[in-house]
């Protein structure tokens, strides 16, 4: 029963576009459709929606959480979870805006934020990969303690960014495109290459899909896992720099609930929460969907509570859809 009697597929014959797409990409199409519907709703309900300014505003608003979500996508595809992203953003933003750091100038502030993010990620990664602790617990602990440390460093104050160089990031356009959006695009492009074109990315899929198989194939699963969290932390550091520019402050209240927003975007983007399958493009579409919803609600002067209900429904709907897609392919 094993071997079909049909002649084996000839490799020169290219299958159709849809047939070549894998489940996640088809789901991405669904998300594009959701986004299209949202855009239509936005355009119909508010005359201010389809303006260049507003579309730019949506992209800029997506940029900070978008960068965090890219790191989160890697972690989740690799079979983990990172609850500490919001707290790491807060810690990096505070550390980069202490007066001592600011005295070194804007480049050092940016470097500081990124190093703090990477360092916190490294701590997560070492405890999870080499300390064999559960990611949920480790990153939960990091979430609590990083925010605590941030509050302590800032002495519960909001720290103003004095460096014009950092503040200007939020107001700079390159070829008419806001720098914030360009940063997101660059991080996303680098992330996409790392995930889909390198051995690291391939191993990440393998570890998330079947850790035991990856280990028995001789892959250094622990090093790879640790690096995933460093990557996520680094993304948080970059996001913190962007947030410094956007808010012109560093604060322990920054990045509030980013972990939930990022995880939600990753999941509605078609990445399996159990790991092994997912796309970055889906995650970014997920972020855009959420941000667009908020935008439409505010443009129409609707209350925040309803907006949260809508977000919740979308998460549940997306996961139900994901389950069906899974069943179809099993």
């Amino acid at each position: 029963m094993s071997v079909s009697t049909a002649p084996p597929a000839v490799s020169t014959q290219r299958p159709g576009v849809l047939a070549r797409m894998r489940g996640t990409e088809v789901r991405n199409l669904g998300l594009v459709a959701v986004l299209a519907v949202l855009i239509v709703i936005g355009a119909v309900t508010s005359e201010n929606f389809l303006t260049t300014d507003n579309l730019e505003n949506i992209l800029v608003s997506s940029s900070v959480i978008g960068v965090v979500t890219i790191g989160m996508t890697f972690v989740i595809i690799g079979g983990g979870i990172d609850l500490s992203v919001g707290a790491i953003v807060a810690l990096a933003s505070v550390w980069a805006t202490t007066l001592a750091t600011q005295s070194y100038g804007p480049w050092m502030m940016a470097l500081c934020a990124i190093l703090v993010g990477a360092g916190a990620g490294l701590a997560n990664g070492l405890l999870i990969a080499y300390g064999r602790l559960v990611p949920f617990i480790v990153t939960l602990a990091m979430m609590v303690s990083a925010r605590g440390l941030a509050a302590r460093l800032a002495d519960n104050r909001t720290q103003l960014v004095n460096e014009q160089g950092i503040k200007d990031l939020a107001k700079t356009d390159v070829l008419g495109i806001p720098l914030m959006v360009i940063i997101l695009a660059v991080v996303a492009a680098l992330g996409w290459i790392l995930l889909n074109r390198t051995t690291f990315g391939r191993r990440t899929f393998a570890i998330g899909g079947n850790t035991e198989a990856a280990r028995l194939a001789g892959i250094d699963t622990r090093l790879n896992t640790a690096l995933l969290y460093v990557l996520s932390g680094t993304c948080c550091g970059i996001a913190a720099v962007m947030l410094l520019a956007r808010t012109t402050t560093g604060s322990s209240t920054h990045g509030n609930l980013y972990e939930l927003d990022a995880i939600a975007a990753v999941i509605i983007g078609g990445t399996l929460l159990s790991g092994g399958r997912g796309t970055l493009i889906g995650s970014i579409l997920g972020v855009l969907v959420f941000i667009t919803i908020s935008n439409i609600f505010i443009l129409n002067n609707l209350a925040t509570e309803t907006q949260n209900i809508a977000k919740g429904l979308i998460i549940v709907g997306a996961v139900l859809l994901q389950r069906r897609a899974n069943r179809d392919t099993t």
Binding site: V3, P8, A9, F200, A213, L216, G218, G276, R277, T330
Partner: protein, 505 residues
């Protein structure tokens, strides 16, 4: 069959992606009887039990219960009819008390409030009936011994007034005298006209407690209604292992007495609780087989050599260089490759395309000039060549592995190791779940690899496979090597004698 039949299964088929786990099983169980199920690992016993318990729905076939056609949509519907199953992995809740476990799902309660004392008294009565009134009903199950947990499982079946109790290898976790006690309990059940389906690898137990025997092989019933006490052991063994198709084993080409420098040299290898004192040598171009019953420690030996388990003592040398304990990476670097027993959970990324599965262990060689940057064209071409060489069908490397048959999945795993600089292939049950036609292909393939200079260490619970394919054979029993010698000096019955000595008596 007579009219006392409680359960009748006819032509049960259960298909999983890539495997036909049950391929037409017939089974009749009468009230007041102990019906034994015999079969090798992978013969379909566990799947059959799950169908019976309502955990799997059969794809084909009919099931009648007390003369009435039924279909169980869920475990609870089977339980309501009076079928209780005691799984190999006990399904008790460790954090709940004995009494709570006994009545889990059918608590003695009013409006959601549990009558704790009534339930405790009832639980104590059931345990007393089983002769185990020493187990305190209020104790947390997690704090009981394995044997006591087994009794609690049994008590739970009784508490549900089961008419049929299915026991999957109940003796596996029990000491000798505890088994006797279990048998006493089973006899008591039989006297009350309860039916028991009993699964065990141990022939002596089947002789002691069984009434009828059904033998399963490759998902089919090969014999049913055999008297448990009087059917001769050789007949049972050949029913379990014998096959309708004679496999074609490729001719041996290597010299079993070669004095070539060994590729793999294992000395005094031991893993606590699994095996000890294992010495073995594999030379280039040689196939060495490990035979033995399940639980004899064969797979553990393989996994320990590979570093997937950390050895307690002993040395493992590849080409004279000692390997560190518990490091798969070092083993792979030294040129080992493992095709594990549980292909799906231990080797394959089922949802990923064939190509990605093939290149998994040699990704670092699939790169362009920039380290870590994948050359996807080369990856695809390499995978295509490797799979074409093994005649993996269909020949499309972009297909998800889970759509392939068992034999082709196994070839994908083999192709993975052929890409690298593998010198020693460790094969654990290489034809498990592989259909008959594809087996000969795999045998020929393994032999061809050996002819090309690769060393092979083979583990199989199918004795003819070991004897037919290997050049030299090590026979293991209860964690020790009991015989080593050239394969052509052994036959199936001699091996079975060796492995069952002291078991089949």
């Amino acid at each position: 069959m007579d009219d006392g039949v409680l359960l009748r299964m006819r032509g049960i088929v259960k298909q999983f992606p890539g495997v036909r786990a049950l391929d037409g099983v017939d089974l009749d169980v009468a009230a007041g009887q102990v019906h034994c199920l015999l079969g090798q690992n992978g013969a379909g016993k566990s799947t059959l039990i799950r169908v019976l318990a309502g955990a799997h729905r059969p794809d084909e076939g009919s099931l009648s219960w007390e003369g009435e056609d039924v279909s169980f949509s869920s475990p609870s519907s089977a339980i309501q009819r009076g079928i209780a199953t005691i799984y190999q992995e006990l399904d008790l809740v460790p954090g709940l008390s004995v009494a709570d476990n006994l009545y889990l799902g059918h608590e003695k309660a009013t409006a959601g409030f549990v009558h704790r004392s009534a339930q405790g008294a009832a639980a104590a009565a059931v345990l007393k009936k089983l002769g185990h009134s020493e187990i305190p009903v209020s104790r947390e199950v997690g704090r009981l011994s394995a044997a006591q947990q087994q009794i609690v499982s049994l008590a739970r079946a009784l508490a549900r007034d089961a008419k049929l109790i299915v026991m999957d290898e109940p003796s596996a976790v029990l000491a000798h005298d505890e088994v006797d006690n279990l048998f006493r309990v089973i006899r008591g059940l039989i006297a009350e006209n309860v039916a028991v389906v009993y699964i065990s690898h141990r022939l002596e137990e089947i002789r002691q407690i069984g009434d009828m025997v059904t033998v399963l092989k490759d998902g089919r019933t090969v014999a049913t209604g055999l008297p448990a006490k009087s059917t001769p052991t050789p007949e049972l063994v050949s029913l379990m292992t014998g096959r309708n198709v004679e496999y074609l084993f490729p001719p041996r080409t290597s010299d079993p007495f070669s004095s070539d420098a060994p590729l793999l040299q294992v000395e005094g290898l031991a893993l606590k609780g699994a095996f000890e004192g294992v010495d073995l040598v594999v030379r280039p171009g040689e196939i060495v087989g490990l035979a033995g019953l399940v639980g004899a420690g064969r797979s553990e030996v393989l996994e320990t050599i590979y570093g997937a388990r950390r050895r307690t003592t002993g040395t493992v040398r590849m080409e004279g260089r000692e390997l560190p304990a518990g490091s798969v990476r070092a083993a792979v670097k030294a040129g080992m490759g493992l095709a594990p027993e549980e292909r799906k959970s231990q080797a394959l990324l089922l949802g990923e395309p064939v190509a990605r599965n093939v290149t998994l262990a040699s990704l670092s060689r699939m790169t362009k000039t920039v380290p870590g940057w994948l050359d996807r064209r080369r990856e695809k071409i390499t995978a295509q060549e490797a799979t074409a060489g093994l005649e993996v069908r269909p020949a499309d490397v972009t297909r998800a592995v889970k759509t392939l048959s068992g034999g082709n999945q196994q070839k994908v795993v083999l192709a993975r190791w052929l890409l690298g600089s593998t010198k020693l292939l460790l094969l654990d049950e290489p034809t498990r779940g592989v259909d008959v036609g594809a087996r000969s292909e795999i045998y020929a393939l393994v032999r061809r690899l050996a002819d090309d200079g690769m060393g092979v260490l083979l583990v199989s619970s199918e004795v003819p496979e070991v004897l037919g394919l290997a050049d030299r054979v090590l026979v293991m029993r209860e964690g020790q090597v009991v015989h080593t010698g050239p394969a052509d000096e052994l036959d199936e019955h001699r091996v079975l004698d060796l492995v069952m000595e002291g078991i089949a008596r």
